[in-house]
Amino acid sequence: MKQILHIFAKDVRLSWSGILGALALVTAYLSINYYLLAAYPQFRQGGIASGGWLAQLLPIIFLLTLIGWIVLVSSVILGERLAGDTQFWITRPYEWKKLLAAKLLYLVIFVYLPALAAFFILRAEVGPPSHSEITIQGLLGNVLLFITVLVLPAAAIATVTANSTRLTWAIFCAITGMIAATVIPAEMRPDSVPGPLSVNICFAVLLLLCGAVIVLQYARRKTRLSVALLIAIPVLIFAIGLFTPERRPHDRTQQPKATVSRPT
């Protein structure tokens, strides 16, 4: 435990400006929501479209917060990077489980906790969901899943890259790969789309393989194998999208409804 806290404290010392930046974004998101809820009664029901120009900032701040979290977690992983053979820490008495635990602690404290705090604060202000089928637990689960789906792949990519430039390129390639893996099967089989089970399997593949890469890198630093596993993710998602027998018809006549963003 001592080593975990020691590494964690070092990470906090070295990334305090990034932490403050991410917390400032979360605070700004909350403050704007608070102001809009108080100043524009229609914002509670109508969402961004009914909150004036200030409401238009919300998606931008939301996006910046997500990017900030990715940058924060990635830079902390790169602080004791796993790819390569010239790192200072690999010939020091680091224990990989404790190093991984220190990084997870950082993730929980500076990403999950602020996100959960923001969620509960906003929930308290907005009140219970108006739709009876939506539960607080369900919403909370979605928030946690959303953050995990976003941060875990970025963290996995950070474990196989040697610096922030390569990381940026790798994330760009990963996004491109994932878009290709989901769009191409849909274009190849326009009559139907994968069913909910297939979609859930895709999420499971993404999370399990990313988790496996992170553990593999911390335990063994097998970067080539880890990169192969990461490349396998879009390939598997592509295959599931194309070949899954569980499909439902794609109703081309039903256009997606204009979505209205509302406070979480």
């Binding site: 070295l14 010239t86 010939t91 020091r92 008495p93 990989w96």
Partner: protein, 313 residues
């Protein structure tokens, strides 16, 4: 006798290239072992395998009684490692780095740390990324010596450093030498000669010899034979005669298995018109150069022969 480092048939391939080829090495406890060899000989690869940074493709290494492949975590409490390519936590100050590492080592000696900081004149409040290469090496040395490791492994520690910094680092090492075993790779022969007790010579991945420095110095001699009349070099010279040359009445070569009486007798047999024989002791640098050059000429003549055979075919 204890051997803090021992390798058996240790080999490493990168694709088709054999970087380290069946190396058997034993570093005795308390030794200052210098692994020398030309660039690309495989020194860094060998050191990295010993430190479990790279995995061997064949053979094994044992470090402080632990299989090198299991070397991790607490095993590094007793090992200090400094490499010319090693990164440091650049975002930290020198003092911050020492504070950070201190908590990892139960045997960290604050008094020794202060002594090393003073000896190396380290600026504690400056960030490591703003330090010169020499200063970074000194910081790396201080952080690897302050816990009194029982084994210090250094990979080309003096490369690219100015003589003043080198002297300071060597002084720091010499002070630690009585209480530890030091294994270093280098081609900086003049420096290591002054304090190494053992030497191993690596060429094209093969360990050509590994022995005590005193034995090596006693084994090698620069031989000058003065003849009564000009004479061509005899054919079928022994393999222990390196770089034989002749000019007028003088034959020169490096003898790699010197034994005063035996060598005198053999030379007298091979050169009946000998007038004078002179055996000069050699520095490690001259020995290294003689071996490296004779190795290259052997390699190039073998290559020439292969090309000639191909042309004939």
């Amino acid at each position: 006798m204890n051997f803090p480092i021992r390798t058996e048939n240790l080999s490493r391939r990168f694709g088709r290239t054999v970087a380290v080829d069946r190396v058997d090495l034993a570093v005795p406890e308390g030794a200052v072992y210098a692994l020398v060899g030309p660039n690309g000989a495989g020194k860094t690869t060998l050191v990295k395998m010993i430190m479990n940074i790279l995995l061997p493709t064949a053979g094994r290494a044992e470090v402080l009684g632990i299989d090198s492949r299991l070397l991790a975590g607490k095993a590094f409490n007793r090992i200090g490692y400094v490499s010319e390519n090693q990164e440091l936590p650049e975002g930290m100050t020198t003092g911050g780095m020492l504070d950070y590492f201190r908590a990892f080592y139960p045997t960290w000696d604050r008094t020794l740390e202060e002594q090393l900081v003073h000896q190396f004149d380290l600026p504690l409040k400056r960030q490591l990324k703003h330090l010169s290469r020499g200063m970074k090496m000194k910081a790396a040395f201080a952080s690897s010596l302050a816990y009194r490791p029982s084994l210090i492994v250094l990979d080309e520690p003096f490369t690219g450093l100015d003589p003043l910094v080198r002297d300071e680092l060597i002084e720091g090492l010499i002070e630690r030498a009585p209480e530890t075993t030091i294994f270093l790779s280098s081609h900086d022969l003049a420096e290591i000669e002054s304090f190494s007790s053992h030497v191993g010579y690596l060429e094209q991945g093969r360990l050509l010899f590994s022995e005590e420095m005193s034995v090596l110095s006693a084994r090698f001699r620069e031989v000058t034979v003065t003849l009564a009349s000009p004479s061509p070099l005899p054919t079928n010279l022994p393999a222990s005669w390196l770089q034989p040359q002749t000019a007028d009445c003088v034959v020169r070569f490096v003898l790699s298995d010197f034994n005063e009486q035996e060598s005198q007798r053999e030379l007298a047999e091979r050169f009946p018109s000998v007038r004078d024989i002179c055996f000069d002791p050699m520095t490690l640098r001259s020995i290294f150069l003689a071996i490296a050059r004779s190795g290259r000429s052997r390699a190039s003549s073998a290559q020439d022969q292969a090309v000639a055979r191909e042309e004939v075919a």
